[in-house]
């Protein structure tokens, strides 16, 4: 499994500095405050508008829709910088990472024309409707159904664990457009774009263990979805959904969710001139460096249209364990009293990291599921 070595060009390096300057300015102005796990738990539509104003949402998409046609690597750099700074990018996250590429690959011309410019302008956010109350890791068991009616589909059922549905306008929803067949679970699934403000949609929060609003249940009671909102081919929802996963699994958000804490740890150790502690911290940096190599390599292969199922699953499973490990190692090196409200940044990042860490190895494919995917892949080779 050889991945390309990516050397950033001068232009790319300049772009990184541009993004960094933008973030530092807004940090200084207090537009946002650095937070661990900000890509999923830091939803701030106003900040997303600022990002859009820079041309940084949908930046790889065709200019026909308002995109800048920049490379995957540019987008990679952008994402890294946002995560390293702990910026609140959750509102536009799914639309930018998943929905746009999905529509570019499978969407109709009308869908692209309608949605992509709105997404790019930071005016249209998406949720992801995959899991259901009883499906968990077994996605093929979804039961939400869409029945054909005149001019569209009537959707009934429920989705759960939808992040930030309360801030989103639409949701790409995996539904059964043909009856459930125990023998062929993967068949008859389709992806619909469902308007979250349509009649019959109820969104109820599932408060996170901190009490914060983050996940939601989304219920559908005879929700009408026009034919024009079917994504790709009817019945092909499973395969289309799988194609999204590589984008979802190998990005810097599987490595850097707790980077603000790691950075703060090093600041504290430097203050204390604790070279033994810094030597341990350098192990964490070595892990981060090695994961970045892999993750950037996958991004490059994706850019070239290559197959990355296994390395992407590896980035996810190893990277999220790394993210999870940072608070546990940090607290061995620097004493902390973790507290979400603390003035002291180290204590605050510790609290954010500890409380969010359990989700890292669950969301987007549990480590257990990923082990199976990787093992089957290597055995088949």
């Amino acid at each position: 499994m050889k991945l390309p070595v990516v050397q950033f060009t001068k232009e790319q390096q300049a772009f990184r500095l541009e993004v960094r300057a933008f973030l530092q300015q807004h940090l200084k102005e207090g537009t946002f405050r650095t937070k661990c796990d900000s890509w999923l738990s830091g939803s701030d539509p106003a900040f997303s508008k600022l990002v859009a104003a820079q041309g940084w949402i949908g930046m790889t998409w065709p200019s026909a829709y308002g995109g800048s046609e920049r490379s995957t690597i540019d987008r990679y750099i952008l994402t890294e910088e946002f995560l390293a700074a702990g910026a609140p990018v959750a509102a536009h996250w799914f639309a930018d990472r998943q929905t746009g590429p999905l529509l570019l690959r499978f969407g109709t011309k009308e869908q692209r024309r309608f949605f992509l410019p709105k997404i790019i302008q930071g005016d249209c956010f998406f949720g992801i409707g995959l899991s259901e109350p009883n499906s968990g890791s077994d996605l093929a068991s979804v039961r939400t159904k869409a029945e054909k009616v005149d001019g569209g589909w009537l959707v009934n059922g429920a989705k759960t664990w939808t992040s930030n549905a309360h801030d989103a306008h639409y949701m790409v929803t995996l539904v059964r457009t043909a009856p459930y067949d125990e023998q062929h679970k993967h068949k008859g699934l389709s992806q619909l774009i469902l308007d979250l403000h349509a009649p019959g949609v109820t969104i109820t929060p599932i408060p996170y263990l901190t009490g914060e609003r983050h996940f939601n249940d989304v219920f559908f009671d005879n929700v009408f979805v026009p034919d024009a909102m079917v994504v790709g081919t009817l019945g092909n929802g499973w395969a289309q959904g799988l194609a999204e996963l590589a984008f979802e699994r190998s990005g810097p958000e599987r490595i850097l969710s707790t980077f603000p804490l790691l950075n703060e740890l090093i600041i504290e150790l430097k203050k204390a001139k604790d070279t033994v502690g810094l030597a341990t911290a350098s192990k964490l940096l070595a892990e981060m460096w090695s994961l970045r190599n892999l993750s950037i390599g996958v991004a490059q292969v994706l850019e070239e249209g290559g197959e990355v199922g296994i390395p992407a699953a590896l980035v996810k499973s190893i990277g999220t364990k790394f993210e999870q490990k940072i608070p546990e190692i940090a607290r061995l090196l620097v004493r902390a009293y973790p507290n979400l409200q603390a003035e002291h940044a180290f204590d605050r990042y510790m609290a954010e990291s500890i409380l969010h860490a359990p989700g890292f190895t669950i969301r987007g494919g549990t480590s257990e599921v990923l082990y199976g995917i990787v093992a089957k892949g290597v055995v088949a080779q």
Binding site: P207, F215, P358, I362, E368
Partner: protein, 344 residues
């Protein structure tokens, strides 16, 4: 455990079951607490279990208290049961008179309060249940000596705060506060007091991690994936085995520690238990959440009450960090480590 305490334990556990539901624990988030439970405990004299007979108590010992603290941890009791009973146990131990109104205690590594001519000054952070208690028992510095003092909290300026588990951990400031009682503690007494306080915390931790383990076993039987209960999958079995191991290790550690304290043979048991339970807290919280998957990180599910306590408690009071440093210093003096560990 004495026969007397076996009964007390049973009654206490029954009250926890009756008066501490998920909703009771949730009350903390609204700055309320389990007052009904408290009333019951008071009415049944359970708050005086370890108070001397001459002060109206049942004359229990530290092992009796630690057994109760495993239960307060197991049920995430949202009331200052540990603090009140430990405070009274400790002040009796140094020859002072216990309190009947709610009393809290904080023995901290960093001593930030100073005593001058019987007046207390300074700020102390993370005081458990300060907002609820009438008295605080804590350390104060007077010149080069360490005093154990009791002070009425009515004289304090207070800022409410909580730990990761939403338990009250208030900031308390004194300015020339009059103290109720004081006594100097020498190094030997100091060690004894902080070992008791650490042991109390560790017992709660052991209770909470046992609960997280039990909840996970239960969930693994109820939850189905791919058509089977999840405990049938090898990777879930691995998590369950790891949890069972940590729970067994923690229980044995706590009991050996308690035994050594009550026999007054304690040498390194508190330190070892502290270090090992720090590790266990991490392992248990991680594995329990991984098995529970998404449901476990929701506010609705009760797992979080226990894992948040594990994450909070491990960094409070005298931590594994502290005890590791103590042991490192001890080891420098130890001739033969095997003999040291195995020979009294």
């Amino acid at each position: 455990m004495s026969e007397m305490l076996e009964i007390v334990s049973d009654v206490f556990e029954k009250m926890c079951k009756d008066f501490v539901t998920k909703e009771t624990v949730d009350l903390l988030e609204e700055e309320k607490w389990a007052t009904a439970l408290w009333q019951q405990l008071e009415d049944n004299e359970l708050l005086k279990v370890a108070v001397a007979e001459q002060h109206g108590g049942a004359n229990g010992d530290i092992a009796d208290l630690l057994a109760l603290y495993q239960l307060t941890g197991y049920y995430a009791v949202p009331a200052p049961v540990l603090e009140h009973t430990l405070a009274n146990f400790i002040i009796e131990l140094v020859g002072l008179t216990p309190f009947s109104s709610i009393t809290t205690i904080l023995l901290n590594e960093q001593q930030t309060l100073t005593l001058t001519n019987g007046r207390l000054d300074g700020t102390i952070h993370h005081v458990p249940w300060a907002r609820t208690a009438q008295q605080l028992v804590t350390f104060a510095k007077e010149n080069d000596s360490t005093k154990l003092v009791a002070v009425d909290l009515i004289q304090a300026e207070m800022t409410y705060a909580t730990n990761l588990a939403a338990e009250p951990r208030d900031t308390v400031s004194f300015e020339q506060a009059e103290i109720i009682a004081q006594i100097e503690v020498n190094e030997l007494q100091f060690q004894k007091l902080i070992k008791y306080a650490t042991a109390a915390k560790l017992s709660s931790i052991a209770g909470a991690l046992d609960k997280a383990f039990q909840l996970t076993v239960r969930y693994s039987k109820e939850r189905e994936q791919f058509g089977r209960p999840i405990h049938r999958f090898q990777l879930v079995q691995q998590h369950l085995a790891i949890l069972a191991g940590e729970a067994a290790i923690a229980t044995a550690a706590i009991e050996n520690m308690a035994g050594s304290l009550v026999d007054e043979t304690e040498r390194f048991e508190v330190a070892f238990a502290s270090i090992r339970l720090d590790e266990a807290s991490k392992t248990v919280a991680t594995a329990a959440h991984q098995v529970h998957a998404a449901i476990g990180v929701t506010y609705e599910h009760s797992l979080q009450h226990y894992t948040r306590r594990l994450w909070a408690w491990r960094d409070e009071g005298f931590t594994a960090h502290y005890w590791q440093e103590q042991l490192a210093a001890d080891l420098l003096q130890v001739e033969d480590v095997w003999a040291w560990m195995t020979t009294q």
